[in-house]
Symmetry: C2
Subunit: 498 residues, 2 copies
């Protein structure tokens, strides 16, 4: 058979069928996928998992526990789920538990409302591809309360976490080749989903640097530099903003957001606003301003023409329901025909997890004063957020007490991203091993203390500077010990290489 | 600002920044995404939803209910969820319900086991990207019991339904351009996820036709024709098989699977086996044979070199948990370095929904004789599967009684895919409206009866033949009425256009 094929193929020399030849190798696989990097779950996490396994098997280590401070995974760090939210979810799955007297009536009502909009009243049915109608409506009302600006369910697309929605929008925007290839502006440091998606989609990444000296502020002059430079190589069409910042923790001022919107208008850029940390704002004087709100308040011509997609998630905030994979995006000023294309694109994956949709519904429409679950819900929510605020403060204090570690205020989100001075001899030692210097530091930290953080090189940073990202999520007492351990390891490390 | 950018850009004439110009339009969007088609949720479903809305608003129609027989959505069609599975899921979400005396002890034990492997014992934590270790282990044991062949957890990747895993593997395999672009063989008729993914990934679709006259059998001579033809335009590297067939409902014989494996070996093709309907086999004499099992039983050289990925899901079978989005794939003979790349690729989306993983765990490791939930679980499972078997039979009988409708036996899966003779005047009328003739038929059917089925043109079919896909999922009595309604509509339609 193979012989016939080769003859008929007209002698295409480069694809002979030699039975038994491997089809899929590093050399033959999709080169774009091969180039993808994703530091948050990269080699350092693989090593952390391995160390955890070794500990379990009884191998002696200089530590008794691996602490995975590499990822914003609240429950894994001991944060307790919000009771009301879980009650609703459990009832959606197992309506016969409605008879359980320990479940408050508002949880029952909510579960009934969600199930009422599911096919066959089952959370196991597919939803419409953009999500359950009632949830999209509730999201729209949430946005209206948040912004004081109208919102429409038809502009809401529910998603499998925010990552899924972000990639969908990037997919729509990527086109062209050579100098007309889509260029996408992303902050440096960034959350590496962006660079990974751009690599996979073969779009052109245009980096704009956040200003570390100014508390990771976004500077429009730097955006201008990046676009101007970018126009030499591609067609800049998209500007991604992460606010509150990941990994950098800054919260953008209203003025800054206005400037960014004006810039997007002037430069014809589609705005993607990653606002998954909108509930995570801690610093005094900091306040979350949604891009949608600012855009609409600015009025014409901006409010009528600047195209925007904003992303939210159930994985962060006070709920931290990462594992349930829920989220939404709101699109603003999107061309209606393109919105139809977006609807078509998401329909190929059928629908986002319906349970994640149900939980999102509670997040955007929580119990109100007078509801049976209100007090408990409020107490749990406040406890999580005020603990996070304390931990943000604690992190910055302990790091900044250590000579050589420089940590900007953690105004929001869930991470610190301190800069560390590394001695030239450490840099040389890293280079000898073919490692980025901060990867070298983080690996040593992991091996000696069991603390897993992600090197700054995984997020991007100015050349010659070194950082790491660490979550502020561990319980306060544990976090304090962790920070002190990390600081003294750093001091020892610097001494060793001085 | 824009002026500066244009000057510095060296006069790149095709990308002037004119403030307020829309960025994302049908003309500027990703052309590959624009080309994507997905019939299962296409225009006919959009119209069905609209009709449903109109009915709700009190508009008078010749029917009182829209019946969405377009998609394999069991619960939406009234199938009852499996109790044990939902109990475990509810406990995973709300462990305080363990105190509820109505929950059997084996459900509690199972929930504890799953939670024990979650970070912080919460289903709200991210899992490892390939899934929870205990679930991957349980999947491997399930495959071993099914096939009598060893399976390893390290070859199992849990997923967000099967679609997600199928697209991930296709992403790995797509590379090259022009004549060295990856060609992917897919059956015609196919499940349109395949054509949609290939369009989006810009891979070359190579169609092989299933033999309708032989009950939709897969014929290796036809595979050979498709590969030989394909080699003129691209590099065929992948062969996709759907067994049991969707939309065609055939179950492949062991001999056929052996032939396909030999063919893949000879022609250097990576095998993708979509086996999501492995529990849905009804016809006497039909039996599901996993590609993995047959491959391993064939021995060397096949068992050592043919690369295979097999896909399964919690959305189908007897459980029908579409909304929870769970599934897995097993990779066989995959190059270890490529497997690492696959692990990296899936890590960018963090993890599949953890609740879907928990439910998958129950599916692959159901209650055993002697367990408190065994009897109920077995009774519920058997009830669903035997009803489906009856409905498969009923469908074929009623359709084949109608002159002009030709329905192959529904040996497995959840659909019938009857061929319908359409009078030339109907074909002409459709063409006048710029519609595929079977789309024209299905739209008329929907408008007049409220029955929503998907035209065969959405799945692919031999030129000049017309089909539709309809699920066998509605409750038996309702299905019978539906089939009779559809048959008489067809007869009336033919009369109208004769």
């Amino acid at each position: 058979m193979a012989v016939v094929a080769r003859l008929v193929s007209g002698g295409l020399g480069d694809s002979p069928a030699v039975p038994g030849t491997p089809v899929l190798t590093l050399e033959t696989m999709n080169p774009a996928v091969r180039r993808v990097e994703y530091a948050v779950r990269g080699p350092i996490v693989a090593r952390a998992l391995q160390l955890e396994k070794e500990l379990k098997e009884g191998v002696t280590k200089p530590f008794s526990e691996v602490i995975k401070a590499n990822i914003g995974d609240a429950h894994a760090m001991g944060q307790t789920p919000i009771t009301f939210l879980r009650q609703v979810a459990a009832l959606c799955l197992c309506p016969e538990l409605m008879a359980d007297s320990s479940i408050p009536s508002d949880a029952r009502d909510r579960a009934r409302r969600v199930l009422g909009s599911c096919g066959g009243q089952s959370i196991g049915s597919y939803s419409a591809s953009p999500g359950l109608e009632v949830v999209r409506e509730d999201v729209a009302r949430y946005i209206e309360r948040r912004d004081g600006i109208p919102a429409r369910a038809q502009d809401i697309f529910l998603s499998t976490g925010a990552s899924d929605a972000i990639v969908s929008v990037l997919k729509l925007l990527v086109s062209g080749s050579g100098r007309s290839r889509t260029g996408v502006l992303i902050p440096i440091p960034q959350y590496p989903l962006y660079s990974a998606a751009l690599t996979e989609l073969d779009a052109h990444q245009l980096s704009y640097f956040l200003n570390e000296e100014q508390g990771w502020a976004l500077d429009v002059a730097e955006l201008q530099r990046a676009v101007t430079e970018g126009r030499k190589h591609c067609r800049p069409r998209v500007l991604c903003i992460i606010n509150p910042g990941n990994p950098t923790g800054q919260v953008q001022s209203r003025e800054c957001i206005e400037d960014v919107i004006k810039f997007a208008y002037e430069e014809n850029l589609f705005l993607m606003a990653d606002e998954v940390y909108q509930d995570n704002v801690y610093a005094e004087g900091s306040e979350f301003h949604a891009f949608k709100k600012v855009l609409m308040q600015m009025g014409p011509p901006y409010s009528e023409s600047v195209e925007l997609a904003s992303f939210h998630s159930i994985s962060k905030g006070y709920m931290g329901e990462c594992g349930l994979r829920g989220g939404y995006m709101e699109v603003v000023n999107m061309n209606p025909a393109v919105k139809d294309q977006l609807a078509k694109l998401v329909s190929v994956r059928l629908c986002p997890p319906v349970l994640g949709q149900a939980v999102l519904d509670v997040v955007v429409d929580p119990p109100q004063p007078g509801d049976p679950s209100y007090e408990r819900f409020q107490a749990e929510k406040t406890a999580v957020l005020s603990a996070l605020a304390k931990k943000a403060q604690l992190t910055q204090e302990i790091f900044n007490k250590t000579p050589g570690i420089h940590c900007n205020p953690v105004q929001g989100a869930m991470y610190s991203f301190p800069r560390i001075d590394l001695p030239p001899r450490a840099v040389a030692a890293a280079q000898e091993q073919g490692q980025a210097p901060d990867m070298f530091f983080c690996m040593r930290l992991l091996e000696e203390t069991g603390i897993c953080v992600v090197p700054g090189s995984g997020f991007g940073q100015r050349e010659g500077t070194y950082h790491f990202r660490m979550t502020i999520l561990p319980p306060t007492e544990k976090l304090q010990i962790l920070l002190e351990k990390l600081s003294s390891f750093y001091t020892k490390f610097v001494r060793e290489f001085s």
